[in-house]
């Protein structure tokens, strides 16, 4: 299997004093040399400082270069451009693990330069759907609201939809730590962390947590910090995913990619698009944002004949907690479900504050049930969902007519709902799936058996023992 090999030699061509105009990140150069669309370019200013960009358009007499680093503080005279003669490449190799790099793959940990085994285009290439293997291996995250109700499987892309001030980082760390521990072959695990426009504090938080769990030597971190160029934000996840693809599909590791914060990524995309003078679609975001995000998220998966897998856990903060905002909306249309954090639950002190109704894992049906987890796992999950959805209606009714105005049957749902949130969703230590299942059956006991129509008589008989009334069994 050959992957993405870019064999075009790196032709470095200098173009001095050829700049025609500079408008934001867009540099227009005289077309004095031959270069290809999307070729990488290094722009060197009069101090010899270099900035990365790529060719975005070729006109009869001009080359348009989009400078990924900031276009600020650049003179127009005395500029030099170095053309790579190939799209932006990243030199990958097994030495990636244990390193901390910036958003364009340059070491920032004081260590030696990376040992390059292979140069790959950072944009990757689409995986042939025929070559894909279905993600089916259940990952125990230790989080009940995920394992029991929205299971994660290897090769899935499952984002966390969060909001400012909510504990999404902690949840992501928890998942990353636990998912690692469960792997039967611990050494086959790797974590790739892409910090996109993150603060120094967040970067440190992740770094410390990873260090504490002893996984640093199995981790690569790509950090684009909040005070770095926004255009470089577009590159950080691409470098990270190129590394992840190499580790997963060449080295055969089970790679978990945590990318945060995708909202910063999308905002950078908007900024760059506006700089290009493009007609926006919704809320100023470019019409191609769906395709652009897909070009990142679709890099998750499994490939036939490869033992590794690439699982993505992107994190995004929903602007204004609005799930219909273009960022979560387009993400949801691409990813295989979403885990939504809820401010109301957070305020109630329920940790992790996962809102299960809007959360979804689309690969759940492939990764749970007989032969994967527990025979009755899917039915239990369906029943919990049905009951919790009814709880919501009952709460609504109760808020109008008062609890006294409810029928006895309805009141049971209030009790169930509280147990569900406080005992099932809330947790302070990781739980095994068996423990999660047990809690699931247990909270259902607040409801009469006759109501549990998602469960078969046999399932009721097996698990709903405490209740005397077993419908018609």
């Amino acid at each position: 299997m050959s992957i993405l090999a870019q064999d075009r030699t790196r032709a470095e061509i200098r173009l001095e004093d050829a700049a025609l105009s500079l408008d934001g990140p867009l540099l227009v150069l005289k077309r004095e040399i031959e270069c290809g669309l999307h070729d990488a370019v290094e722009v060197l200013d009069d101090n010899g400082q270099s900035r990365l960009g790529r060719v975005v358009a070729l006109r009869p007499d001009a080359i348009v270069v989009d400078i990924h680093a900031s276009g600020r503080d650049l003179p127009i005279s005395g500029l030099r451009a170095r053309f790579h003669g190939a799209p932006l490449n990243f030199g990958v190799g097994p030495g990636l693990l244990g390193r901390i790099l910036d958003g364009t793959g340059a070491p920032i940990d004081g260590g030696p330069p990376l040992a390059v085994v292979e140069e790959r285009s950072v944009n990757g290439a689409p995986i042939n759907p025929v070559a894909r293997d279905l993600p089916v291996d259940f990952i125990e995250t230790g989080v009940t609201a995920i394992d029991l109700l929205n299971a994660l499987v290897r090769g899935q892309k499952l984002p966390l939809f969060s909001g400012g001030g909510m504990p999404h980082d902690r949840l992501a760390i928890r998942i990353a730590e636990h998912a690692r521990l469960l792997g039967e072959r611990d050494e086959a695990f790797a974590l790739v962390f892409a910090g996109i426009g993150v603060s120094h504090t967040t970067a440190a938080l992740f770094r410390n947590a990873i260090e504490e769990s002893g996984a640093l030597e199995r981790t690569v971190m790509f950090l684009n910090l909040a005070d770095e160029s926004s255009a470089q934000r577009l590159l950080a996840p691409r470098y990270a995913l190129t590394a992840a693809e190499y580790l997963a599909f060449t080295e055969g590791l089970h790679v978990l990619v945590v990318m945060t914060d995708m909202t910063s990524y999308c905002e950078a995309l908007r900024e760059v698009s506006a700089g290009h003078g493009e007609i926006p679609a919704r809320k100023g975001y470019p019409g191609y944002m769906y395709s652009d995000l897909a070009s990142l998220f679709e890099r998750a998966g499994r490939i036939r004949g490869c033992s590794g897998s690439l699982t993505q856990l992107p994190i995004l903060t929903m602007p204004g907690d609005d799930i219909t905002h273009p960022i979560p909306d387009l993400t949801g249309y691409i990813t295989e479900g979403q885990i939504v954090l809820d401010r109301g639950l957070h305020r109630k002190g329920i940790e992790p504050p996962i809102a299960v109704l809007p959360s979804l894992s689309r690969l759940v049906d492939q990764g749970i049930g007989e032969g994967f987890t527990d025979v009755d796992h899917p039915a239990l999950s369906a029943q919990l969902y049905a009951a919790y959805a009814r709880t919501r209606q009952v709460r609504l009714l109760a808020s109008v007519v008062g609890e006294e105005g409810l029928s006895e049957g309805d009141r049971a749902y209030l009790e169930f709902g509280d147990a569900f949130e406080q005992r099932l969703i809330a947790q302070d230590a990781p739980r095994s799936l068996a423990e999660s299942l047990e809690i699931g059956w247990d909270v259902l006991r607040a409801l009469p058996a006759g109501d549990l129509t998602r469960l078969s008589d046999e399932q009721l008989a097996r698990h709903h023992v405490k209740s005397t009334e077993t419908g018609d069994g």
Partner: protein, 599 residues
């Protein structure tokens, strides 16, 4: 005129300009650059042409060649399509061993098919008529047809045997001496509808196996339907369910700008799925077209046309074809992106002004037709729509709604409660329903129209009653209204809910749909009489039998429809108090129900 050449002068994204002194035509297919990427001429502008490229354009340079093919963007239609998976331009994805798709990949050699002639030298053939057949064990018999616009006398015809799809097997000579060499396959421009002799009125439903569709909002064979819904509301699962279980002869499944894993799923499942009618794998009568969200945008736009062209090709052989397109919004977005690159003035939400007419043209290609050969076939189009923010008032949903006859919107609240299919029964409609009652009558179900209407009324009433209950409390509603609420909840749970993941209920035969509807209606009728007869709503709601009615879809399979009669009898017995005018029957009916269910 083939082979006009041009040189790129300007390129950016999927659109380029090239200079030529040759003759190109609008919509001509072209080959671009040294990798011979596929493109299409969008505009002619003096000595320049504007081309959209269906593949990744990275690396293209000014000066690179653009070569005309002399014909519009076309695909080769042949018997070998069945069972295959293709990209948006109908190039097989199975041909290469590469795990990743690189631009300009080569087309796999045409497959060999077993050919049987059905004409003899000297026979007169007109357009659309068959000169041969491809018969393969268990697969639909396919026709090798004279392409539209061609006719003549058979000069030679190959004898039976394996042939290449592109090899000449039949020669026709026209009166004036022009001769035509025909193979088992033919090339057709994707943007042109294939001609038919005439359009025919609908004759029956496409049975999807989904109760809410077939019973409440049916689609006719040759109909068009839209399935709009926000992310995660169940569009793909429903499309896949329809593909798996519907009673069309041929299935065309187009994944347009969606997930790679979903295509992998379809690829894995279709060969394993048996056609409930023939017992053969579904993959033998399906064609999968995959242009996932990370594949080039322009090809996404073409994939929809490619799909419907393939559908028409099988229709012309006399098949009923169902094409599922997931999602047509990605096609519209591709149009928007290309339009933006061309600098066209946008209309609503950045979409080009011609979005509406493109949608209309596309859906017009659905229909039941008499082919040029006289064979009767149909193309049913079912398209998913992915509205931004789940808002159905956006342009793509609105234009789609205008062009379809069945509208199956998915409701976020239902989906969140994991109530599937999440089709909103009050927002959905079917304009085909009136014509389809006859079919159900022929199945021995004359009550179909009436039952359907009653169920819809009940669901409408539910909304009003729930609103009232929220103000005054459920218990203060008059008893008949409380009962209506109970029955409406039952209709949802027992009849409309149908899990695609269920072994028993993923698919529902028409016989079983009839039996389930009759069971539900029996309960509703008997419960009202029981109420009049003195039973209380609480008494009815407390019947253990209700659990069996609610779970009937899960418990009683397609091959045990007779068990519904027992359930109906049990309903009669449990609510028998209706006949007894005296009071005090409540406890009796309870014990009765208990006894029955114990058996």
């Amino acid at each position: 005129m083939s082979g006009a050449s041009a040189r790129i002068v300007q390129v950016g994204g999927p659109v380029l300009r090239a200079e030529t002194d040759g003759v190109f035509r609008s919509n001509e297919a072209v080959e671009v650059g040294h990798q011979r990427l596929i493109g299409e001429v969008l505009r002619l502008d003096g000595n320049q042409i504007v081309v959209q490229v269906f593949e990744e354009t990275a690396g293209l340079k000014p000066g690179d060649p653009v070569t005309g093919t002399g014909r519009p963007l076309s695909v080769r239609l042949g018997p070998g399509l069945l069972g295959g998976i293709f990209d948006g331009l109908l190039r097989p994805l199975t041909g290469s061993d590469e795990s990743f798709i690189e631009p300009g990949f080569t087309i796999a050699a045409a497959g060999r098919v077993p050919f049987t002639p059905v004409v003899e030298t000297g026979d007169e053939l007109t357009e659309g008529q068959a000169f041969g057949k491809v018969v393969r064990e268990g697969r639909p018999d396919l026709l090798c047809m004279v392409p539209p616009g061609i006719s003549g006398k058979v000069e030679s015809i190959a004898s039976a045997g394996d042939v290449d799809e592109t090899e000449t097997v039949c020669k026709l000579a026209e009166e004036d001496g022009t001769s035509h060499e025909l193979s088992c396959s033919q090339v057709w421009p994707v943007r042109d509808p294939r001609p038919a002799r005439r359009r025919l009125p609908a004759s029956g439903p496409l049975i999807t196996g989904q109760r809410i569709m077939d019973t409440l909002f049916p689609v006719a064979r040759g109909g068009r339907a839209a399935l709009p819904g926000g992310f995660g509301t169940g569009k793909t699962i429903l499309q896949q369910s329809v593909a798996k279980w519907c009673d069309a002869d041929i299935i065309i499944y187009v994944g347009c700008g969606e997930r790679g894993n979903e295509m992998a799923e379809v690829l894995r499942e279709f060969p394993e799925l048996e056609d409930p009618r023939t017992g053969r794998p579904l993959s033998e009568r399906s064609v999968i077209i995959a242009n996932t969200s990370n594949m080039p945008v322009a090809a996404r736009e073409a994939s929809i046309y490619t799909g419907v062209t393939v559908a028409e090709y099988f229709r012309d052989m006399g098949f009923d074809v169902a094409m599922l397109a997931d999602s047509t919004s990605r096609w519209a977005e591709a149009l928007r992106e290309i339009s933006g690159r061309l600098g066209e003035l946008p209309a609503e939400a950045g979409y080009p002004a011609y979005l509406g007419s493109r949608k209309a043209e596309f859906y017009e290609r659905a229909g039941r037709t008499e082919a040029l050969s006289g064979a009767v076939g149909s193309v049913t189009l079912i398209g998913a729509v992915s509205p931004p923010g789940g808002d159905f008032s956006e342009p793509v949903t609105l234009y789609t709604q205008r062009n379809v006859r069945c509208f199956w919107p998915l409701d976020r609240e239902r989906a969140r409660a994991r109530f599937y299919p999440a089709i909103h029964p009050l927002q959905a409609y079917s304009e085909d329903a009136d014509e389809l009652g006859q079919w159900w009558r022929e199945q021995g179900y004359p009550e179909w129209d009436g039952h359907r209407r009653r169920l819809l009324e009940l669901l409408g009433e539910q909304v009003q009653l729930e609103r009232m209950a929220r103000i005054v409390g459920k218990d203060t509603l008059p008893a008949p209204q409380q009962l209506a609420l109970l029955n409406a909840e039952l209709a949802n749970e027992a009849f409309l809910r149908q899990s695609a993941m269920s072994d028993v209920d993923a698919f529902c035969t028409p016989e079983r749909q009839i039996a389930m509807m009759r069971t539900l209606m029996r309960f509703i009728d008997r419960s009202h009489s029981a109420l009049e007869g003195g039973m209380t709503v609480a008494g009815i709601a407390g019947l253990p039998l209700l659990r069996r009615v609610r779970r009937m879809g899960e418990e009683i399979g397609n091959d045990e429809v007779e068990r519904f009669e027992k359930l109906q009898a049990d309903i009669d017995a449990a609510l028998a108090s209706s006949g007894v005018v005296e009071s005090g029957t409540e406890s009796k009916s309870e014990t009765e129900a208990g006894q029955e269910t114990a058996t």
